[in-house]
Symmetry: C2
Subunit: 244 residues, 2 copies
Amino acid sequence: MSGSCFAEKLSELIDLTEVEHKTLEKLEERQRHVRRGAVLQRENEGGGELYVLRKGLMMSYVLLHDGSRQILRFLFPGDMLGISSAVYQEAPETLAALSDCVVCPFDRGVLADLMREHPRLAAMVLVYSQIERVALTDRLAALGRTSAKARVAALLLDLRNRLRATDKSLANVFSLGLTQEEVGDATGLTAVHVNRMLRQLEEEQLIAREGGRVTLLDERALARAANYVNRYEGLDLGWLPKAG
Amino acid sequence: MSGSCFAEKLSELIDLTEVEHKTLEKLEERQRHVRRGAVLQRENEGGGELYVLRKGLMMSYVLLHDGSRQILRFLFPGDMLGISSAVYQEAPETLAALSDCVVCPFDRGVLADLMREHPRLAAMVLVYSQIERVALTDRLAALGRTSAKARVAALLLDLRNRLRATDKSLANVFSLGLTQEEVGDATGLTAVHVNRMLRQLEEEQLIAREGGRVTLLDERALARAANYVNRYEGLDLGWLPKAG
DNA sequence: CGCACGCTTGACTTACATCAAAAGCCGTGG
DNA sequence: CCACGGCTTTTGATGTAAGTCAAGCGTGCG
């Protein structure tokens, strides 16, 4: 087992060579602990570093002029953070920790080195950036065209699926680790309405709740109600450049 | 001037070498004409090819179970299309032409070659994919947290700015080339409500309209109302691998 | 010419927001 | 160990932005 979280994630899709492993370990040489609630990078500030998230749950969000917040994405162990901020002089989004986290900061130059020396890894960075793109378009469609209930259901399904990516043993029960306010900021709803939607899902026997833990009782029906597609399946990587 | 649309777009950000130019021309060796309304690639179908859009206006969209449509993105000359579809066995989105278009199809293998032999171009593909990512998150925030009027205003501003990227002479007047239904499908609104918002923007002297042409009368106020940020500025490319 | 499609406008409905208040829960300090 | 203050969660009453339905109009095109 490698010392790199990112490598571990890549290993699910391709077989890494020894050299590739070594290269990826360079991304995670340094470590930094981030307290729950702390901000790793603030919107409109410069000097964006890149990170690999090693442990914990984070989110990225933007604030609008009226003070409202839109959560753009939840971040899980193995995810690479701050690529978009690295491309801009000023970060387009804030990165904040939802639980105590461990991140590995690395320099943009290291990414450049990686792209120069390891085309296949460069291609994989592009692949993940496309997976994320598709996840964003799914959410865009959800916000633009689906009901409040569907959006909440989709969020529950997606969180569970992404948690499961790091913890295979995870079944239908999990603690979502978000306040209803945060669920609202992710789905474009108010906390009050999120509460009502959760209760409705509960009444319809689609989920159960007790003390912050959620159980998905009827995953099939939930996915139907949410227009949900699991985007972590169905990839095609046959075209990648050869290793080495 | 190069024969490649994509190269032309890249040239705005970096100075391409002779060899890089040659490489990019390979992406646009073949040409295909696409009629207004025609579909280049359909959601959930396989065999996704990649394209560079050379001429015209296209869009990508998804259809939901209830038949409603969410337009994800408008595509302009110089844009690379179908990267996300190339990563999946089945295309996650439909590509359709809003006007008569010319596209240049190329194989995923060509992209792999490019990434292997030209790290700097590979990095630029990643950069554009991040610019697009940020554009999507801006739209996500708009759909989740802003009013109908703001969303319509943001769409008008963005269309004008992106049109101007291909035609520098474009000022404040342009024909948007979209039906109000399409504007609605992009902003998560109904055609009827789009109409009302346009009229309101007109009444407030923010825009003027006549026969499909729109004039932005007060760009500053419009941007403020829309929470709009132009994402085609403020890039930082100092970290790119060296050419060659 | 006439038909289809897009635009416009009005009347009415509805999903979600807002406002408000009470009750649980959780860490902190006396 | 308990009391307190500050978050969350929950629920009800009311408001409103945007959707739905419907009809009339202009216009380009077969």
